[in-house]
């Protein structure tokens, strides 16, 4: 009945890109029952795939434990981090995984409503996703009393964003769903207690939810066999920039930057940006570092820069991004990003002193500590890491050499 079964899938990977038939995970979930689902999830060690890395089982348990008669499961498809496009692939090619994950989550926590928050830029997917949901409804996999004897009603609606990066932050996303400006809330309280319209809400990344069906079918222990002790399972990496084979790759956590560069056939690599514009920029000397929550953490964005690239120009692009996307609610982020961009522009014009640069780095650390949400807490990362790791190019002899040419 479901059309994607007939779609040929060329991708392969240990978990997400392995064989899966629509409905399999949901069937298994019903056999297991709520407590065993939470048990498998806990033993899998699955952590949030959007980048923050909060243990998924804990989030679900907290919501499941609440007595509220109304709960929500929200799938965060506001994939806006520069260099990230894995959710695009999951939603276009593996919608059955994402929706089955949402149904399982709904069943486990006792939610009747699922909401997929799709970024406005992805509106072109809306039709195919809506059609897919309609097929699920026709097959009685969504709607009233969908599983015989289980007293479980669940449906999914899709809501569009309107071009705001900050809405990827879970409380900003909820504000947006409620019809307000996408301004993050103070946490705590967390959405698991007071989420959408004040009801307990689980907000999970697309990839997190898509991992759940596989974990239930093959078991939490099997999931742990992939990855490292602290970063279990596999991860989708969105790889772009200077390489021969950009795209989405599923690799176990613990893969080193060097291994990854070989895989995508990157040559003459000077720098790798791990974690998008809000991540850190690593020089060649650190390419032996491994990808994982314990070392180089990332929501999957990997951007590769070769020797021909100007690091200051890259940094400027990132800082312009943050100036535009800061929601403006808290001062460290609203003003801080503007000050950091000014700093980059002054370095460009050779109009700076080192005490000024040091002040800006100090400002960056203040923003990391004092900003209200992840945007302002992480936007100074590239500023600090690029100026520290590429100081020869930006301030030193190499820069002078360039000018003499």
């Amino acid at each position: 009945m479901i059309k994607t079964e007939t779609l040929s899938k060329k991708r392969s990977g240990p978990v997400l890109f392995s064989e899966y038939k629509q409905g399999e995970g949901v069937k298994k979930a019903l056999e297991l029952g709520r407590e065993n689902i939470l048990f498998e999830l806990k033993s899998s060690g699955l952590k949030g795939r959007g980048g923050a890395g909060f243990p998924t089982a804990t989030k679900w348990m907290l919501t499941a434990a609440s007595n509220s008669d109304k709960k929500f499961i929200v799938c965060n498809a506001d994939e806006g981090e520069p260099g990230t496009f894995k959710d695009r692939v999951l939603l276009l090619e593996y919608p059955e995984l994402v929706f089955d994950g949402m149904i399982i989550a709904g069943y486990t926590i006792g939610a009747k409503n699922g909401i997929l928050y799709l970024r406005g830029e992805y509106e072109y997917m809306l039709k195919s996703l809506e059609d897919y949901l309609e097929l699920l409804r026709m097959d009685n996999l969504l709607g009233e009393n969908i599983f015989a004897g289980k007293d479980f009603t669940f449906d999914i609606t899709i809501r569009l964003g309107s071009g705001a990066y900050v809405c990827g932050e879970e409380t900003a996303l909820i504000e947006s769903l409620e019809g307000y400006r996408g301004e993050p809330r103070n946490r705590p309280p967390y959405p698991v207690n007071t989420g959408f319209l004040g009801h307990p809400t689980v907000v999970n990344n697309v990839e997190t939810l898509a991992s759940v069906p596989h974990i239930l079918i093959k078991g939490g222990d099997w999931f742990r066999t992939h990855g490292t002790d602290k970063s279990t399972g596999s991860k989708l990496f969105s790889i772009s920039g200077d390489c021969k084979k950009p795209g989405v790759y599923e690799l176990p956590w613990g893969t080193s930057i060097n291994e990854l560069l070989n895989l995508v056939e990157a040559k003459n690599t000077k720098a790798v940006q791990v974690g998008g514009a809000s991540g850190i920029c690593l020089p060649k000397s650190q390419f032996n570092r491994v990808l994982g929550y314990e070392d180089a953490a990332t929501g999957g964005s990997i951007m590769i820069f070769n020797e021909s690239r100007n690091m200051l120009k890259i940094l400027k692009n990132f800082m312009e991004f943050f100036v535009e996307e800061s929601c403006g609610q808290c001062t460290p982020c609203r003003i801080g990003n503007i000050k950091l961009l000014e700093g980059v522009e002054r370095i460009e014009k050779d109009d700076f002193t080192f005490s000024y640069i040091n002040n800006l780095k100090e400002l960056g650390r203040t923003m990391q500590a004092a900003s209200k949400c992840g945007l302002g807490q992480s936007s100074p990362n590239s500023f600090i890491s690029i100026l520290d790791n590429f100081k020869d190019e930006i301030f030193g002899a190499k820069r002078k050499g360039e000018k003499n040419v």
Partner: protein
């Protein structure tokens, strides 16, 4: 705006409020629907939404001004958004930008005189592996070069 047009717009907004509901959580959806059809949300439209949803017009305006894809000023029938983020930038976004500006005779941020096309830069479209990328209304185009980009824009009416 003619009275006739105003009445038509009011009726349209009334239908949208009927469809999506009067709850505040429907506000963004209603504004998105108006934006999709008219390419902008006029002051009058904002006031009508506020009146029918029982919220202050300033509240509605604050939403329109917050979200990058909602506009309070008229735009072209096609809003073209070229990705300016780093991966697209490195794969030749600047050349594409120059070519479309030259061809249309407008700069980014402007609308053609015939109200056909508005040019804008936007942040990461999630097409970093296939850049440069742009959106034309909701449709996405990838692996652009100056010639293909100009051809795409000359084909839309």
């Amino acid at each position: 705006m003619l009275v006739l047009e105003k009445n038509a717009l009011s009726e349209e907004i009334e239908n949208l409020v009927g469809e999506f509901g009067k709850d505040r959580s429907a506000l963004l959806q209603i504004l998105q629907a108006i934006q999709g059809k008219h390419k902008y949300i006029s002051d009058f439209a904002q006031q009508e939404v506020a009146r029918m949803m029982d919220i202050h017009p300033v509240e509605v305006n604050s939403i329109v001004s917050f979200y990058a894809f909602l506009y309070s000023e008229p735009k072209g029938r096609y809003i073209v958004r070229l990705c300016q983020t780093i991966s697209c930038d490195m794969s030749g976004k600047e050349e594409v930008a120059e070519a479309v500006q030259r061809e249309l005779g407008i700069s980014f941020g402007q609308t053609t005189k015939d109200k056909r096309i508005t040019l804008e830069f936007t942040n990461c479209l999630g097409m970093c592996d296939q850049g440069p990328a742009m959106l034309v209304n909701e449709k996405v185009y990838t692996k652009l070069d100056p010639e293909t980009a100009v051809n795409i824009l000359s084909e839309i009416k």
